[in-house]
Symmetry: C2
Subunit: 121 residues, 2 copies
Amino acid sequence: MTTTTRCAACKYFRRRCSSDCIFAPYFPANNPQRFVCVHRIYGANNIGKMFEGFPEQLRGNAIECLCYEAKCRIQDPVYGCVSIISWLHREIHLAQTQLAKAQAQIALLDPGVEVAITTPR
Amino acid sequence: MTTTTRCAACKYFRRRCSSDCIFAPYFPANNPQRFVCVHRIYGANNIGKMFEGFPEQLRGNAIECLCYEAKCRIQDPVYGCVSIISWLHREIHLAQTQLAKAQAQIALLDPGVEVAITTPR
């Protein structure tokens, strides 16, 4: 029955999954795609090496972030999640412009009113 | 004099840099750190494989993005550039809140005025 309990990483590599497998807690057997993504972008060896640098209690978060970035890179091979960062920067610029307009409108409606709202960084 | 003209990738691997080296245009000899970063995170083989998927005219952009993500991951091993995405999301939320306050203030100052400003997505 070993086959059914192998984690997604060991299943992918068609190897036995030991009880101390470093991938097992983060790549469950029921979600093989998760491992396929990070393996394709970072390579299993690099993932293993990076693991060593993660504090144990943050490994789950770190793997989530790696999976997210890998998924973005597969969806957008050229720009990866940098395209999301660019889009968010544009959104902030838009919001800042709208806010400046609103502040100008407030100042026009009541020059005495204190415009306490500050623009985001 | 081959040594001085080797690209940063070939220099790192202590190998000859051929005239058709795929890394040479993107990893110049005078910036070795750039290759060290992407190699550490993605591995040279994976970078090579990803190259094949990039349209030739976008390779420069793709390498820029990979270097950016790798640098973020080295600076913040757990969250990488996902921490920037989270921060930008918080900034947008803050801007939306400020904008909503400004719109409420406008409506209060002049209930007849049309608040044409829309909140960002």
